[in-house]
């Protein structure tokens, strides 16, 4: 779009002193626009505090999947497929079927006459290992550095990263960066000016002078002096930013969403890039001083091709698929088709949901999150209690709030990322006995985390006095297993059992807003009896979910994605409170929603790591339902044990012969173990999503691979409810699916690599060792068993309504049209399955 701005430039004359006026006036604008443009191609991962799964290649989402993978590869060097030999191995193992492979050949190269020889090539071809980021290696910046004879990773990055990390630090260093309030660039400039000792690489007079300018002006001056030709500016800035995608991306994220860190830090990508350009220039002018009298010049070859792959169409020569890439695309399609075939066959077993398996008068209802990890728990619960009925919906239960716990100083967002919450839910403690430690006992318990141990005198006293106690603590934690320690972050304690939620504060929900939310949720998940307008009655328990892990910087990625990486207990508890409120019920009644007399909702939390549950406000359950509640609790305990057993089968270091009870003990031990790099497998192996009635999937073994969202097609003839569901399900589940996908296909570029050498920087990010860039994506321990498959979304609806429902939301339809997810419909009456292909739904054969 704005690549056109280059045309406005008048070619720079050889004489540096004569600058076209247009240049001077538009400096800030031009540089700002360049940066706005290139910021698009940076990773969009936020700080560790919350983990919001997103499509790693989000920036390329406006292109079809395979084209986007190719373009992204040319931009980042990351690969978006498995390796050829991995696919060939999958074929040998039967994970990729011959039928799937043939289908993929026909689909990718339609009308190919010679599919046999193509098949031969696919099976025999070898892939040359390609390495590095071509954009950077063949770029103009690399040439500049080579001419100086050093590398930015050695000379500039460590110093810059240290400044960035120190500036954004949220509580590791004991001395904060001075004057963070005035922004990154200004605070560095002020520190350089105020300090009597030099700060490398800002020690030269050139750097000091440039730091007096505005970031944009400084950048522009460096670009003019060093790069010279305006045609190369953008490419040069892009290469600079992509030289450390982790930090560039983080700074950009904090610029867009400053609220994602607790201690505020004004953040601008332009500041960071300006500092880097000044540092570079300072270093160059120091090194090249002798050889170039008027300051260093890069003098890029004017004929150099500086096309940015992401800014040209997918069919541009530089973005065309290579032979190997074409083979890889076929393999990926074949891999997905092979899985889809199996899944379709499995789903057909239920007869397309035509036979109802649900009990006519359910004993109780339970509601879970759509999360793939709840898929098996629902199955076990239904098996143990055939009279129970289970539902699933996004785990924030429609309560789009900011939450402040009794011990919290700040507000936490508890709803999906795209939602902007406007209501606040607060927790207050009823009895005056908060569970928090006194500061002395807290210190004694967690002294090993104390910053004082690093200082001189206090460190000496602390080390001498408590050092040997650490031996005892460490030995017990390692050999005997820790209890709840400082290292553990558990969801079960997120809200206190003795507390109360305040929903209707000044900034909370009005009664009719509560009614809206209750009504919407019940309607969305098909909670009304098919026969009439009335919702189900009796006891309904809503299980939010969270996790518990120790020594794990990725803890937030284990919690509920629909709550922005937090435990869902405040939401489930808040929903129950809304739905039980007699005032809300009478509003609902006036709207025609009449609950049966004995109807009660209970909020609860399922800890997916520990397979443990907590129920809230159980003392309020009316007497007639108490007995049912006790039954449910018993059933749940059994289901949790069975679920733990099923999960243990996937842990290689755990015996396959554990009894369910032992399995439960094992998973609980894992959750607090300091050295367990895999407290749970999380979303690994996720591959499908089913939006429909439970009848479609009840009794099927989906191997914890499917997200599920309850939906009743009969009450939604227009597909409007489906549109609503899809606008949450597609980005959330699709984001999870693709983040696992790309972290698995390239664990170094798109993923964070193995987590064993990870180090924490400023509480916001993770790096390897002590000098590198911030890492993005997921560590291999989370993704190693994940087969990279795009999510197959099944909706139970007539194909034309399903398509209509998807098209109604353009953002959702982009995912489907560009094949970032697969979209299939199951006819609620005939059970026929259609798949979205090209531009319409095609019947699957």
């Amino acid at each position: 779009m704005s690549s056109g701005i280059h045309l406005e430039f008048i070619p720079v004359s050889d004489d540096d002193d004569v600058q076209p006026n247009i240049f001077q006036e538009n400096i800030p604008q031009i540089v700002t626009e360049l940066i706005e443009d290139l910021a698009h191609w940076l990773p969009s991962q936020g700080p560790l505090k919350e983990f919001i799964h997103h499509n790693t290649l989000h920036a390329y989402q406006d292109r079809p999947f395979h084209a986007a993978v190719r373009v992204a590869r040319r931009m980042t060097g990351g690969r978006g497929t498995l390796k050829l030999k991995e696919y060939q191995e999958l074929f040998r193992q039967g994970e990729i079927t011959e039928r799937g492979l043939k289908w993929a050949i026909a689909a990718v190269t339609p009308g190919s006459l010679d599919s046999m020889s193509l098949m031969q090539t696919l099976l025999m071809a070898q892939e040359k290992q390609s390495v590095g980021n071509p954009l950077l290696e063949n770029g103009i910046r690399a040439k500049g550095w080579a001419s100086v004879g050093i590398r930015p990773e050695d000379s500039i990055h460590p110093a810059l990263f240290k400044i960035f990390s120190q500036y954004y630090d949220q509580g590791i260093a004991t001395w904060a960066f001075p004057d963070t309030g005035i922004g990154l660039f200004a605070s560095v400039a002020s520190l350089v000016e105020q300090s009597w000792v030099p700060i490398r690489p800002f020690h030269t007079s050139a750097a000091r002078r440039l730091l007096q300018l505005s970031p944009e002006a400084a950048m522009h001056e460096v670009l003019r002096e060093w790069v010279g030709d305006p045609r190369f500016y953008k490419r040069y800035l892009l290469e600079t930013a992509l030289g450390h995608p982790g930090w560039s991306g983080m700074i950009r994220q904090l610029e867009l969403q400053p609220g994602r860190i607790v201690s505020a830090r004004p953040s601008r990508l332009a500041d960071a890039l300006a500092l880097e350009l000044i540092a570079e220039y300072s270093l160059f002018s120091e090194i090249l001083k002798q050889s170039v009298p008027n300051g260093p010049k890069l003098l890029p070859d004017p004929s150099l091709d500086v096309t940015i792959p992401a800014e040209v169409p997918s069919n541009h020569p530089i973005n065309q698929a290579t032979e190997t890439e074409r083979l890889l695309e076929i393999w990926q399609e074949a891999f997905e088709r092979s899985y889809l075939d199996r899944l379709v066959r499995t789903l057909s077993l239920s007869g397309g949901g035509s036979k109802s398996q649900t009990p006519k008068t359910p004993l109780y209802q339970t509601v879970f999150c759509i999360d793939d990890r709840e898929c098996s728990l629902r199955r076990h619960l239904e098996f143990i209690q055939p009279l129970g009925e289970t539902f699933a919906t996004a785990g924030f239960f429609g309560v789009d709030c900011l939450f402040q716990g009794a011990n919290d100083a700040i507000l936490y967002k508890h709803c999906p990322d795209p939602v902007r919450p406007r209501h606040i839910v607060r927790e207050v403690v009823r009895s005056k006995k908060p569970g928090s430690d006194s500061s002395v006992s807290h210190f004694l318990k967690f002294f090993h985390f104390s910053q004082h141990s690093h200082s001189l005198i206090r460190g000496w006293i602390l080390t001498q006095a408590l050092g040997l106690v650490a031996a005892f603590k460490m030995a017990t934690e390692i050999f005997l297993g820790p209890g709840e320690s400082a290292a553990t972050l558990g969801s079960l304690g997120r809200i206190l059992p003795t507390s109360e939620l305040i929903l209707d504060g000044n900034d909370g929900y009005q009664l009719d807003e509560m009614a809206d939310r209750v009504q919407a949720l019940l309607k969305n998940m098909g909670f009304f009896r098919p026969s009439g307008q009335d919702p189900r009655g009796g006891l309904t328990v809503l299980f939010g979910h969270g996790s518990t892990s120790a020594n794990n910087p990725y803890f937030a990625a284990y919690d509920c994605g629909a709550c922005s990486g937090k435990p869902g207990s405040p939401n489930s508890r808040a929903f129950a409170k809304m739905a039980n409120d007699s005032r809300v019920r009478s509003i609902l009644e006036s709207r025609g929603v009449r609950f049966p007399d004995a109807t009660w909702f209970v909020g609860a939390l399922h800890d997916t790591t520990r397979d443990e549950v907590r129920y809230f406000d159980t003392d309020l359950i009316p007497n007639p339902l108490r007995e049912v509640f006790e039954t449910l609790k018993d059933d749940m305990e059994k289901a949790l044990m069975a679920n733990a057993k099923e999960r243990c089968l996937k842990f290689a270091q755990v015996s396959q012969d554990l009894s369910p009870k032992e399995a439960l003990k094992e998973v609980r031990h894992r959750s607090t173990s300091l050295f367990e790099a895999r407290p749970e497998m999380n979303h690994a192996t996720n591959a499908a999503c089913v939006v429909g009635r439970r009848d479609l999937t009840r009794g099927l073994f989906l191997d914890r691979r499917a997200f599920m969202n309850s939906y009743d097609p009969q009450v939604d003839p227009e597909g409007t409810i489906l549109t609503g569901i899809l606008s949450a399900v597609v980005p959330v589940c699709g984001g999870i699916s693709l983040e696992y996908f790309f972290s698995r296909t390239d664990s170094e570029v798109y993923g964070a690599g193995t987590k064993l050498p990870h180090n924490i920087s400023g509480l916001i990010g993770v790096l390897n060792g002590t000098t590198g860039d911030l890492l993005t994506g997921l560590p291999t321990q989370m993704t190693e068993i994940h087969p990279p498959l795009r999510l197959a979304i099944f909706v139970e609806q007539k194909e034309d309504i399903a398509l209509l429902a998807a098209k109604r939301n353009a953002a959702v339809f982009e995912w489907i049209q560009n094949a970032w997810v697969r979209y299939l419909s199951i006819d609620p009456e005939t059970g026929k399955i259609f798949e979205f292909r090209g531009d319409r739904m095609e019947k699957l054969t």
Partner: protein, 606 residues
């Protein structure tokens, strides 16, 4: 002879045995390695505990002997050794228990435990060594094990580069220990630590001129400063945190960093006889503590913060040792070791912990302080900037290790013959009046060695087998020439002189031939898989050759070098320093070459 089969000696042998077995079986399943590791550590625990609670005879035998030269292996389990052994067992056990699960499915699972056991044996040898020679063996093991574990992720750029860097600093500081040990040999007849404390030692020390005493002490202190990351070497410690977290915890948090303090404890009789040396330890320790605690305030990644916290305490330990507070220092070593080990093991939790605090309290006070303006504000900002710049230690290191050699060698190597002319000229002039052959040889040896080091730091080593072989040639030839020159100066006549250099020269030739044989037939593929993965056996052989050529105690080169120095020192002490220098330079060049050539991180841009 039965002393060789005591619980004591078995405790020392077991980790070595375990390391070797695991390395040999590294292709088997994770389960096998797991069981082997557990067996080894349990057996080791049994023998160590037995050694700790019973009285163990000392182990002493002549490893090598030549006329009046003796290389004596001596190990004894005194109080200090027992404390270190208990610590090693405790932390070793904890870290192994931790890592057996933590490293699940990691490539290099076997390699990790093999290296860890190797390291543990090094710590045990160092702490129970009865004389400086034996101490040096353990010390070298620590260096090699560090190199291997920092470079654990050998396909990545930073770990490999930092491993080579840390090893180079270690090796440079070995200069102090090597030369110190040789001098101790000649001046104090190689007395063990116990004799030094006894009447014989007191006599011997008293007889030494003050200057000599200070010189030996300064060399030993130099070695201790490097190994314990004190000033001016501190900046290597955070850079060493590249391996899996548990390895960083036991190496750099806990055990390795206290090796320097141990050296000081052991050599106390020597340096405490010199007031200057004692002051030197105290002042450098205090400075290190001050500076490191300042730096720790301005680092915002948790592992660096713990590293500088640990350096601070080790600095204080140096002060305590200088003050003669041995018991306090020992307790301090123990408590610092376990605390830092624990902090590092739990370091990934820091987010959870601090966020809990941050979320439940007001923002941490120090994070929101506004610095005042004016003069005081400038002082505060200056302090901040000073520590933010690592107190310029890294810049100092860069000047010493990069800029200086590059300017020196680089200028000369643009015209390679110049370095030779210069080297030969300097030494010929120096020794002209005395023995021209000697000067020629020494000059040539030094020139070759420098040339080899220069080659080793060039990118061509990464991609060319020939370039790599050339470094092996140059370093080997430089060692050989030097040993020949020693043969020439032997006053007793050429024939015996040749015999004396034989162990050394034969060793050099052996390792050189092995390296060349292993290198032959390796075709480099600069953008493909790293060479070690394609040629694991050859890679291992070349590594052993590099160690052997560098004087690592696995062959006759180690004693031969000692013996040579013994001769040189008798005749011409100043040459001894030149020889040690060459040796160190060669060692650095070889390990740099090895890591560049074999680890060859595929993503590194050439």
């Amino acid at each position: 002879m039965n002393e060789l089969f005591s619980a004591f000696s078995l405790s020392l042998l077991l980790p070595l045995l375990g390391a070797a077995t695991i390395q040999l079986l590294n292709r088997t399943t994770e389960g096998t390695i797991n069981r082997l590791t557990i067996t080894t550590i349990l057996l080791m625990a049994g023998f160590v505990i037995l050694s700790l609670v019973t009285v163990q005879p000392e182990i002493a035998f002549q490893l090598f002997s030549w006329r009046d030269y003796h290389f004596e292996m001596r190990l004894e389990l005194d109080g200090v050794a027992k404390i270190f052994w208990a610590l090693t067992l405790l932390l070793g056990g904890i870290v192994i228990r931790f890592s057996l699960i933590y490293l699940h499915r990691e490539a290099g699972y076997a390699r990790f435990f093999s290296t860890l056991f190797f390291f543990l044996s090094g710590v045990m040898v160092v702490s129970s060594a009865g004389n400086l020679d034996t101490f040096m063996i353990g010390w070298e093991i620590l260096g090699i094990a560090s190199f291997l574990l920092i470079g654990f992720y050998r396909n990545r750029v930073h770990p490999v580069r930092n491993a080579a860097m840390v090893y180079s600093i270690y090796r440079l500081c070995d200069l102090g220990l090597l030369a110190g040990a040789y001098l101790e040999h000649t001046e104090l007849r190689g007395m063990g630590f116990r004799e030094l404390l006894g009447p014989e030692g007191i006599q011997g020390l008293a007889a030494l001129p003050n200057g000599h005493l200070f010189f030996i002490s300064a060399l030993l202190i130099f070695a201790a400063l490097g190994k314990s990351a004190q000033l001016p070497f501190s900046s290597w410690l955070p850079r060493a945190m590249e391996g899996p977290t548990p390895s960083s915890a036991i190496f750099y948090g806990a055990l390795s960093i206290h090796a320097g303090a141990l050296l000081l404890l052991r050599s106390e009789p020597i340096w405490s006889a010199s007031a200057h040396a004692t002051w030197m330890i105290g002042i450098l320790g205090a400075f290190s503590a001050l500076i490191a605690s300042g730096i720790s305030r301005t680092v915002s990644n948790i592992k660096s913060q713990i590293a500088y916290g640990s350096i601070t305490q080790v600095g204080i330990i140096f002060v305590e040792i200088a003050l003669g507070l041995k018991t306090l220092a020992l307790i301090h070593i123990l408590s610092n070791a376990v605390l830092r080990c624990y902090q590092l093991l739990a370091s990934p939790s820091i987010v959870a912990h601090r966020l809990k605090i941050q979320g439940t309290q007001k923002p941490i006070a120090t994070l929101s302080y506004p610095l005042p303006l004016g003069a005081w504000g400038r002082v505060r900002r200056t302090a901040y900037a000073f520590f933010l710049s690592d107190a310029y230690l890294q810049d100092l290191g860069r000047v010493i290790f990069v800029t200086l050699p590059q300017t020196l060698a680089g200028r000369a190597t643009q015209h390679p013959w110049r370095i030779y002319v210069a080297g030969i000229a300097i030494f010929s002039v120096t020794y002209m009046g005395w023995d021209w052959r000697m000067g020629l040889a020494a000059g040539l040896a030094i020139a070759l060695s420098l040339d080899g080091l220069w080659d080793a730091t060039q990118g061509s080593v990464r991609s060319g087998t020939a370039a790599c072989a050339k470094v092996f040639d140059k370093t080997s030839i430089s060692s050989l020439i030097f040993s020949l020159s020693v043969a020439c100066l032997d006053p007793a006549g050429a024939a015996t002189g040749v015999l004396e250099v034989l162990p050394f020269s034969a060793g050099i030739v052996f390792w050189w031939a092995l390296a060349r044989a292993a290198l032959a037939g390796i075709a480099q593929d600069p953008w493909g898989e790293p060479t070690w993965a394609r040629f694991p056996k050859r890679s291992f052989l070349v590594f052993m050759s590099a160690l052997g050529l560098g004087g690592f105690p696995i062959s006759t080169v180690f004693f031969g070098e000692d013996l040579l120095l013994h001769e040189v020192i008798v005749v011409r002490p100043s040459l001894a320093i030149a020889f040690t220098g060459i040796f160190i330079l060669n060692g650095i060049a070889l390990i740099q070459t090895y890591s560049r050539f074999f680890f060859n991180p595929p993503r590194e841009t050439a």
